[in-house]
Each structure stands twice: as structure tokens, then as C-alpha cells.
Symmetry: C2
Subunit: 429 residues, 2 copies
Amino acid sequence: MTKFVPKPGDIVQIEKNGEVWSGRALPSKGSRLNLKLNSGYNVGIDIDKGTKIEKLGEAESIRHRPVKFALKHDRKKPRVSVLSAGGTIASSIDYSTGAISASYSADDLMSSVPEVSEFANIDAERIFEEMSENLTPKDWQIIARAIFKKVQDKNISGIVVTHGTDTLSFSTAMMSFMLRNLNKPVVFTYSQKSSDRGSTDAAMNLICSTITAAKDIAEVVTVGHGTVNDDYCLINRGNKVRKMHSSQRNTFRPINCHPIGKVWPDGKVEIISEYKKSGEVLEKPYLADKLEERIAIVKFYPGLNPEIIDWYIDKGYKGLIIEGTGLGHVNVDKMSLVPAIKKAIEKGILVCMTTQTIYGSVNPYVYSNLRRLSEKGVLYLRDMLTDTAYVKLMWSLGQAKSLGEAKEMMLENIAGEFNPRLQPDMFLY
Amino acid sequence: MTKFVPKPGDIVQIEKNGEVWSGRALPSKGSRLNLKLNSGYNVGIDIDKGTKIEKLGEAESIRHRPVKFALKHDRKKPRVSVLSAGGTIASSIDYSTGAISASYSADDLMSSVPEVSEFANIDAERIFEEMSENLTPKDWQIIARAIFKKVQDKNISGIVVTHGTDTLSFSTAMMSFMLRNLNKPVVFTYSQKSSDRGSTDAAMNLICSTITAAKDIAEVVTVGHGTVNDDYCLINRGNKVRKMHSSQRNTFRPINCHPIGKVWPDGKVEIISEYKKSGEVLEKPYLADKLEERIAIVKFYPGLNPEIIDWYIDKGYKGLIIEGTGLGHVNVDKMSLVPAIKKAIEKGILVCMTTQTIYGSVNPYVYSNLRRLSEKGVLYLRDMLTDTAYVKLMWSLGQAKSLGEAKEMMLENIAGEFNPRLQPDMFLY
């Protein structure tokens, strides 16, 4: 029993009913003490007479800004523009709930990682502060316009965008279509832990992203941890990458391809796959940001109510991505989706098929059921990821002058979203 | 130019405009010749005057039954019951479309793999013939009842069920809940290529399944290729496994756990993880097959129309699995799902959260947005797979006497569907 009342920021140890917690006190109400554990998670502990509170360290500002360094400028080094679009990488502790929310400016972020100035001169700017689960198609247009300004600036060698992990691959896939004739690297990076905590992965990801942004890659890519250790980052094509783990730092994996390369924080880069080089792009870059937003993903599963497709028809939707099973199946029997799909196609809705296995291709030529769907006019999008297919369908229907042209665009390999040469070791890379 | 017209079954080589195809002729219409290539895929070639057709082999029945062996019976060996529930493993070429559809009886199938009799005496029976994408929740009840009959038969050591790959993990997860106090192995197996073709994976999968079904594993498991080679099969827990590749034979992977073990076709078994042993089950097995079918999966993505949740409310649905991003996020801002989710919960709908990253856990204690959802009453299903969560919610609401009881069942580790000890190397196993 103790009368010591911890101030927010105090490092304390709590003992109650034989259990022991230690961590940093968060703002708390009444007799409930909120504690940020050393693991990064928070607990709320009801303080009663039997609770023992021991102070291990003084209160200091938790919501600290990182130590700021004036980044050195060096005329010989390439200029890299860093744009912040929110996410954990730019987040700190939210006192209202004790959890993490978006904060920090791009400038704060970069000046907390002075190592980047070894590789480039940095211009940091904020697009917006938002956790990526809250982004909408309109935000993709805002991000694309901000990037495109920097694409047009001839003094800038490459662009780094910080972004939340949750919907990052939707954004990168969309950028790969919106930024036409892209002639410099657009590198999206992220963090799986907030950057004001000890074991953050943000620093290495930012350093490796800056290194990549100074190279000759004329593509939209992601750069982040390749393993759970701080050894190297993977460079992945923005429309062939997916968040595959909810918490591990090596979460972004190449899907149906190898990574473009690996990059080490000391500046070393190893190229693994072919990519578009800056020097190969001779035509002028332009921004194609018009979208058709009435697009939906329908994930198929046993027991799915086929009326859901009728609902999208009635709501005036223009395109549907059916995420089928295996090679692109849906029920064609007792709970058949075929009548609803047929109706959608007759109404001029563009219906495409991807697979929920994540890895591998859809293929309508192996099983009878699929052949029938394909004959009805469903487009089979080979090895394209569902999320990439979704943004590409928004983009194609926004750009095309006719349904026929949109269909052709969907099947054309516009930004490396199809890989015609799948290999067994691309599975679970 | 040639006047030779291939009969279905003839092995032919076709040359046209410099391209060469060789394979087996399929029934064809008019001037279009359908050809099953040696790769297993089919093409349709328009035969014109410039097309050269060469016959390489005689017509024979393609839809051949495999050579039947009378399986030897040996009183000293365990008795294994093989039940066929369709799928590629029991399929042959469908002449109407030239593609693959369900056929073959379990008896045909087993007698084409005489090696199984080295390990067990086989009883083969058919449940039904169906490609697994056409299965509905009612079919799960039919499969469970057929299995349960064999569970009650004390002379039977284990059960092998052949099933299509596409929705196999839905079925195995459901069986893991329906078959209570299971005291013998229930092994689901499959094939990624039809079993009447040379390079089929069916034989090895059937042999390894039979070996597994004669062991002491009192769980529902899948057994199938661990690699793209014919070296060993993985034994995976039926509710922690997922089809992760649309065509590779090593498609079924353990998710958020290690496999239970490996099994080689020579009879060797290596155990990797803990499992429930037959001798540990002392209570009488029973069948709990009542389901609430008004359950849906809502996959969240940027731009998802929140009205879809209202539609499910209006349709009288009783449970929703929200497949969120990352740690279990949905939009809480401009296209917020929160009001609709709140309304669903107020109407007594059980709303649960899983992650679309596949690997890792959801966790409402890290980010402010999730904490708010959790406070509204959304159940966070930790590391449970979306597909497992979907069938478990059907089952829990079918079994429970109250909503409160169903919630408790959802969070209880009933058949190993939660793994409290996630390790980094379980990612992309």
C-alpha cells in the first residue's frame, strides 16, 4: 500500500495480487492507472489498498519530439523529397486513449534520423496526417498530386513517402497507375512500431528508402524490413506487394515475383529483378488521376449470399472484383453466383476475377465451371493481386472512353502488375 | 494442309503460323480443335488450310478408370475409412467443355493407389461428388454426419476424406468444431491436378493420409504436399491451414503455427508440434452439427461502402466477421464503418474482427481507433483465420443458448484455433 501517485511519464513498477507490471505511466482517471508496458502494449490497473507502486524513474515528456538535427546540405549529393502521409511512422502516443495515433511532421521525422544526410539532401513536407485505414480514393488523388509536383521538379532525384502500413499497398498500386511515364523513384516507407519508441524500425526504413530514392528506379516501390532483424530492406514493386503480417516488421512481401532488390543501411544495393530505369523513360511524365469510385470487391466464400451482387447492381456500381477461390471459382450450383454475375455484365458492369489464395494465377481454362464464367464475360486477371485489381479497375474505368477500352486496359501490363513468368520460389518469399 | 481429322483421345501435333502444339485431342466442334496440352491445360485451335495436323498416337479412352487392384486385407493392420467428397482428386475430363469436373468413386481412387494397403485395410465410400467451390453450409453437415458414423465405429482407426482444395479449409475448420470429443484422426486430402494424369499429386497425398489416419492424432487435419517435389507431406491442423497458392501442389500452409508434423510415403512421421492424442480423449464423441447460416464476411478496403453492413442488418443476419486491415482496423473517419457496426451490435448481431494480413493477430490495445471499436463490443479474434472465424461463428451461434454464451465460445480455444505462442518463423512457413 502506498500513497505515491504516479505522474504521466513516470517509470513505475506495480504489484497487485501477485502480478507485477512495469512501464511508463499514462494519463489516468480516478483510481485506474494506465500503464504503457515495455512491450509497447498498454494496461489499465485498478489501484486499491493492496496495490504496491514503486517509482523507478522520473517523469519526462513521453510525447517528446525527437532530438532535431539540422540536416547537412551537400551540393554533390542528390536531392530527395520526403512527403509525409501519416501512419505509425509519423505517430506518437495519444493521451486520450493511451494508444497510438498520427502526429510528427516529415521534418521532425527526418531530423531524428541524421544518417540520411550521408546519402542525400532532404526536403521534407507534410501531405496530411492520417492513419492509413482512414484513407479513401480521394486521398489517393491528393497523394498523387503531391508526388507529381516533385516528379516535375528537375532538381529532385527521388521521392520518399511515409505512409501507414494498413492500406499502403492500395496506395502504391494506385500510384503505379496514376503516375504515367514516371522517370524517378517513388519510394513508400512505413513503420510497424511508432517512431518514438526504442525498438522502432522507422530509422532503418527511412535510411534505406533515401538510398533507394537516389537510384535509377523509375517505378513506385515499397522499402522496408526484409527480415525481423535490422539487416536489410526489400525493394518491392508497388503493385505486387502485400502486408502479410499484422505486426512483424518484415510484413511487406513480394507476391508472384521476386523483390526488385535488397538495400542495406550502409548504402549497398543488390538488384534481384528487372525494373524500369530512369534513363529508359523518354516521354514526359503526366498525372492520370481520374477515378471511377463505384467499384467493389466481393470476396467469395461458401454460403455467400448471391444477392450481394444484385445490391451492387442496384446501387449503380460500375465494376466488381470477385475474389474467387483457387483458379478463380465461385459457386455455380445450389447458391450459384452465375445469374447475378450475368445480370451485372448485361448491365455494363465490368466484372473481373482474382484469387483469394494470394499466390498464383487465376485460369479459366482448367475447370468447366470457370470456363462457363469466362464465356459470360468475366475477365480473369491472371496473377494480379485483388487489391491491385481493385484500384486498377477504378483507374481504368476513370480513364477509358468506353467499356471496351477499360477491358483492354485491365488485361494490359501497364506497370508490371502482371508477371508472365511465375516461378515456384516466388511462393512465400 | 491435311485432311486427317483427329478423334477424341488421339495424340496429335498441330502446326499453325509457326506455332506448334502437341497433346491429346478433346471432343471438338466445327473447325475448332480442342487440345489437352501435355502441361494439363487446354487450347482451342481454329483449323484452316494452313494448319498441319500430325497424328502421334492412337485414340484411346481418356476418361479411363484407373487399373483396379483388389486391395489386400490384413487383419493385423489398422482399418481406415476413406470417404470421397469430390474435388479434383476424384475428377476426370469433362467432355462437354474439355475441362475437369468431379467423377471417380472413392473405391476407384483407392484401388488406383495399391500402396495404401501396406499401411492399412481400406473401406472406401462416397459421400457425394462435387467440386468444393459449390459446397454450402448444408454440405458441411452432410460431411460431418458421414464422418461421425465412422467415428462411432470402433473397428475403424482413422478416417480419410477426399475433398476439393478450393474450400477445403472451411470444411476442415467446421469439422474441428462439429466433431466433439473426437478420438481418432480425421484426415482431409486433395489433389491440385486431376488423378488420371501422369504428374498427379493424388497418389502421394493418399498414401501419406492413410499413414496419418493410422496414427494417434485425435484431430481434424489436412495432409498434402509440403514442397513442389514428391518428398513429404505436411500434417496441418484443420482450422489453422489455408490454401495459399492457386496451382502449386504445396499450397496448404500452416497459418500462425508450425505444422503438426511431416509424413513421408514410406511411413516415416516426424512430429513438430503438440497435438491432441487419441488416448487423451476419455469422454464420448458426439456430433454438434447445428448451425446459424445467417453469417457473412465483410472484407474491409479503402472505399468500402459502409451501407453493406446495413444491408446485412436488414436481411436479418446474426453474425458478421469483419476482415480488417493490420491489427484489425476499419475506416473510422470519412467513410466510417463505426455507426453501422454500432447499429449491428445494438440489433444483437455478433460482430467479430480478424485480419486480412492472414498472418499475425488482431489487437485492439495498440491503436486508438481499434480501442474505440472494441469498446463498442466488437470481438477481436486474435490470430484466428478469417475463414475459421466464419465457420466458428456459424457454429457458435447454432450451438449457444444465448448471445453471451456464443461470445464466450468465440473467445474460447475449442479446437486449437487460437495459438497463444506466435513465433517469427511461423510467418510464411
